[in-house]
Amino acid sequence: MFDAVWGNLSYLMGGLWVTAKLAFFALTGGIFLGILVGLARISKRKWIYYPITIYVNFLRNIPLILVIFWFYFVMPIIIGRSIDPFPSAVVSFIVFEATYFGEIFRAGYQTISTDLVNASYSTGMTYFKTARYITVPIAFRRMLPSLITQSIVTFQDTSLAFVIGLPEFVRRASIVDNLEVASIQLFGFVGIVFFIICFIGSRISRHYEEKGRKANIL
């Protein structure tokens, strides 16, 4: 029944590997930049707060596909030669997803009350001990479900790199489909694979949400 899939399985799975690599770079870069963006969004220094806030609000109102195109057009101008779709896609994902992760981190930072920090100081803990044992672990546990959810969204978003010709999972399926004309099984297969991965991810996210609720920290 899935003969067009089995016949091209290694080619398709190679595409899934490209998707996984793109997701890995997008997530590592996006989360790292997101931590900084989140800090900037609670900064009291105006010259940090305003530019970053404009960057966040601007990108969150624009379709990701357009951002992918934009970087694909602007990168050759910056580096002075043509660029492969993969690095260009990585840069656009990091810049784009960091705005979403940044908002999650901002919300996480803001859930820490000054009472909690003061209570920790009153026991004689230093600033770094407070961060190490109290504020960072609590904020992290509160943010974890949203972080996992946004990671799933990012993973799904990588399929949009299709538009600049990156041979990732979806593009490879559509290349095979052009040759074999077996759309139901090919796109059905792609859908099932995405579903399994993302469904497991969403269960993990829900697990931590329940755990946090039971521990009364959410």
Partner: protein
């Protein structure tokens, strides 16, 4: 700046390109609004079915939400566009493939179904935030369960979830851009098309970004008006 790139911003208004962007914007708005009608009506129904007392109904509606949420929109559109007609059998599928503007309708339906699953999730959260005593109070007035949902609970939940619904409404216009992958000439498609003709994709996509930004501002303004109109008095922080 490495390459000697000469900016030419006139692609944003020079004909025919200015008209292309304008037409693209028109299509983006039409697809977004049409898909929104599907998404909102279907989302409300499915969100309500998820909290009914019938186990089978709950299972089916929950599966619906999980399937549509966990598969990327682009894959869903490809499936409906390329595989969808085949699902109707050979003769009928040939008929369907002859419909002019098929991709346009597929985009609306696909985006509508995708977004409906997200609205259903928000509905569920809205129901959950309504206290048990509310339900009991309504039932004690002699309303049936259907009447309770129709006249009290659903309108109440909808007013509660206006902020996340606003986000979804914004997102649906951004997501119309995915329709370009099945060849719908909406705004993103047109800006890419300008690049193909003039090699000034940077200016064209920058222009399109600004247009999306204004579209988003319009949506926020509109939803703000709605929210202030239907606000539930006496609730804090709204």
């Amino acid at each position: 700046m490495g390459l000697a790139y000469k900016f030419d911003w006139s692609v944003l208004w020079r004909q025919p390109y200015g008209m292309w962007l304008l037409k693209g914007l028109g299509l983006t708005i039409v697809i977004g609004l049409s898909a929104w009608v599907i998404a909102l009506s279907l989302g409300i129904v499915i969100g309500t079915l998820r909290v009914t007392q019938y186990r089978l109904v709950r299972f089916v509606s929950t599966t619906y939400v999980e399937v549509f949420r966990n598969i990327p929109l682009i894959v869903q559109l490809f499936f409906w566009y390329y595989a969808g007609p085949m699902l109707f059998g050979e003769t009928l599928s040939r008929e369907i493939n002859h419909i002019s503007g098929l991709n346009f309708y597929v985009a609306i339906i696909g985006l509508g179904l995708y977004t409906s699953s997200r609205i259903a999730e928000h509905m569920r959260a809205g129901f959950a935030s309504i206290g048990r005593d509310q339900y009991q109070a309504v039932l004690s007035t002699g309303m049936t369960r259907v009447q309770m949902y129709r006249y009290v609970i659903i309108p109440y939940a909808l007013r509660l979830i206006i902020p996340p619904i606003t986000t979804e409404f914004l997102t649906i216009f951004k997501n119309t851009s995915v329709a370009m992958t099945i060849g719908v000439a909406e705004l993103t498609f047109q800006s890419y098309q300008i690049d193909a003709e003039t090699f000034h994709g940077l200016e064209a996509t920058t222009g399109a970004m600004i247009i999306y930004l204004f579209l988003g501002l319009g949506v926020v303004k509109f939803m703000g008006l709605i929210e202030s109109r239907v606000r539930i008095r006496g609730l804090v922080g709204r």
